[in-house]
């Protein structure tokens, strides 16, 4: 009898506090599964962010710290520089990473900081109730873009992978999605490689994960996953933007 899938061991067993159908739960498990596969649970330090993604710090069976809004890469820098032989990762949402924390993520990549970042892009601010994010799609209705995001008024969504892959210090950049079982398997492989990038000392690594927020999108969990395929992936193309040898 072989286990095909079970809840990863690097989680501490606490029930997730994400909403029903929120794919943060899938991503959190894939991060933990990658840590399981690499056998690094004893040596990993998780840096949570502000927003729904920050809850990961309460679910990991690793050392963890909760950092201020947008500042996880700076916090992780301090930790990694003091623990160069440990594996340090940040887990940040799109409000955290692509809005308030753009300076920190760009500069962490610029320094070639040997950390791994899991960037969860669900095109909205989840925890605060579904406001517009820099990643919100044009025309997408949120509580602060009630008539749909107007590109003339607040620009078009920011593509962080494309932006960060221009920086020399970034060694691994990939965008994945968790809308189908096949894409989740690819996401796991990318997350694992992003950890390997750090373990091999290659430089900064980031995996952007297109994720669903059924609650704030006003969709059923299944319809939300369909929306990732129909609306998000065309604007945020999946694939590897940068890899290491």
């Amino acid at each position: 009898m072989a286990i095909v899938y079970e809840r990863p061991k690097s989680l501490n067993g606490a029930p997730f506090t994400y909403c029903p159908g929120c794919t943060h739960g899938i991503i959190t498990q894939q991060v933990a599964a990658a840590i399981d596969e690499l056998g690094i649970v004893d040596d990993t330090i998780c840096v949570g962010c502000v927003g729904c993604g920050g809850y990961i710090a309460w679910f990991m069976d690793t050392d963890a710290i909760y950092s201020l809004h947008g500042r996880a890469p700076a916090n992780a820098t301090g930790i990694k520089r003091m623990n160069p032989d440990k594996v340090v990762f940040t887990y940040q949402g799109d409000g955290d990473l692509a809005s308030i924390g753009t300076a920190e993520i760009v500069q962490a990549a610029h320094r070639g900081e040997k950390i791994t970042t899991i960037f969860v892009n669900n095109a909205t601010y989840g925890m605060t109730g579904g406001q517009m994010a820099p990643t919100t799609l044009v025309g997408q209705k949120t509580t602060t873009s009630p008539y749909g995001r107007d590109a003339a008024h607040c620009g078009k969504p920011i593509r962080m992978c494309e932006l960060l892959s221009t920086i020399d210090g970034a060694a691994f950049i990939q965008r994945v999605a968790v809308n189908t079982p096949g894409n989740v398997r690819k996401a796991r492989a990318a997350i694992k490689r992003a950890f390997q990038c750090q373990i091999e000392g290659k430089g900064f690594a980031l995996v952007e994960v297109l994720s669903a927020c059924p609650t704030n999108w006003g969709k059923t969990p299944a319809a939300a996953l369909d929306w990732i395929a129909s609306d998000m992936i065309p604007y945020y193309p999946l694939g590897n933007f940068k890899d290491f040898q």
Binding site: V41, D42, I45, M60, I65, Y66, L68, A74, G78, K86
Partner: protein, 352 residues
């Protein structure tokens, strides 16, 4: 080691390294830039880490990460950067992470000017936290305070701020590093430091958001009702000079207090002056004012700012017993001994 002639900023940086500072994260801003420059030059040679951050904000969050990893860590800045660090400083008081922050005050608000000032007395982040705040008045003291700040931060698991003014940062004076305060013994071990759970007995994972076993309210309640009173009892520092039979008491800190000493000498035989010099702005030495004798008629509070900041605490300590008069400015020649002398004489004449 004999006295060495040093610039204030460099003296504070050297004291930090001698106190075992393992990491410094900073950002350039006048009048403190010699601190990161000194660390950049010296710390790598002495086994430590210097890293220039992209902003004061990021620097402070790097400090938080390094502190969470158990390191003795420091940053320094001036008022505009201190504003940016305060959110993180507040977070570190809640998460109970020690660190040392040196603030070399300049004239604000915001960009302001590069001139020395004492205008950040009341600057605080959110949530009602407290941090020991040293106020050095000469370079020997600045070095000693920075040196001791690391032990105090570790002892209480709470950050310590050393609030110097631009004069202290920029002036040169002799400093004797043989005269540093004794190392505190029996500091609590940093069992909470993040090195991966494998480094901890029983492989118990550590989450640094709140101290173990505490909720948000509980952690905050503990600090406000137990930790801060303990710090007030143990760490309040003040220099009290001749207040028992003074006609007028001067209350001042930092460079302003230094000027007061000239005035006291100059007015010997004219007015009997005493002085209360807080060495810690928090905890503020309220009880020192109970030593003021019955002849005292007024308190004069020289500060390098326009209408006074510390004067509010002096008034609380006075409890209506003595009028408190501000003197000072942050204009061109801000505060001088002559201006303090003139104010004291004016107050004295008004009392006759």
């Amino acid at each position: 080691m004999a006295k060495v002639l040093m610039k204030g900023n460099e003296a504070m940086a050297e004291a930090a390294i001698q106190a075992g500072c393992q990491a410094f994260f900073g950002y350039p801003i006048t009048p403190q830039s010699e601190i990161p420059e000194y660390f950049a030059r010296e710390l790598p040679k002495r086994g430590g880490l210097f890293l220039q951050a992209e902003s004061e904000l990021a620097a402070m969050n790097m400090v938080m990460g390094a502190s969470a990893s158990g390191a003795r860590v420091m940053t320094s800045t001036s008022g505009p950067g201190y504003c940016l660090k305060l959110e993180t400083l507040a977070a570190m008081t809640l998460t109970r992470l020690p660190a040392v922050v040196v603030v070399v005050m300049r004239s604000g608000p915001a960009f302001g000017t590069m001139k020395a000032a004492q205008e950040d007395y009341r600057m605080n982040g959110n949530g009602g936290y407290k941090v020991v705040t040293f106020a050095p008045s000469n370079l020997q003291e600045a070095a000693e305070m920075v040196y001791e700040a690391f032990d105090i931060a570790d002892q209480y698991r709470n950050p310590v701020v050393v609030m110097a003014d631009g004069m202290i940062g920029q002036m040169m004076e002799g400093v004797d590093y043989d005269k540093m305060p004794p190392k505190r013994t029996a500091l609590p071990p940093k069992t909470w430091a993040l090195h991966g759970r494998g480094a901890r007995a029983g492989k118990k994972p550590q989450l640094l958001f709140l101290p173990d076993g505490m909720g948000h309210y509980g952690a905050k309640h503990y600090c406000e009702t137990q930790l801060y009173p303990e710090i007030i009892r143990n760490e309040t520092r003040v220099e009290i000079t001749d207040v028992e039979d003074a006609d007028i008491v001067l209350a001042a800190y930092g460079t302003a207090a230094r000027m007061c000493k000239n005035v006291i000498r100059e007015l010997q035989g004219t007015v009997r002056l005493g002085m209360i010099r807080p060495k810690t702005l928090w905890p503020f030495p309220y009880e020192a004012f109970e030593q003021i004798g019955p002849k005292c008629k007024a308190i004069v509070v020289p500060e390098i700012n326009i209408i006074g900041q510390m004067i509010d605490d002096v008034r609380i300590a006075s409890a209506g017993r003595w009028p408190a008069h501000h003197v000072g400015d942050s204009q061109n020649d801000f505060l001088t001994p002559n201006r303090i002398r003139d104010k004291v004489l004016a107050v004295w004449e008004g009392l006759q």
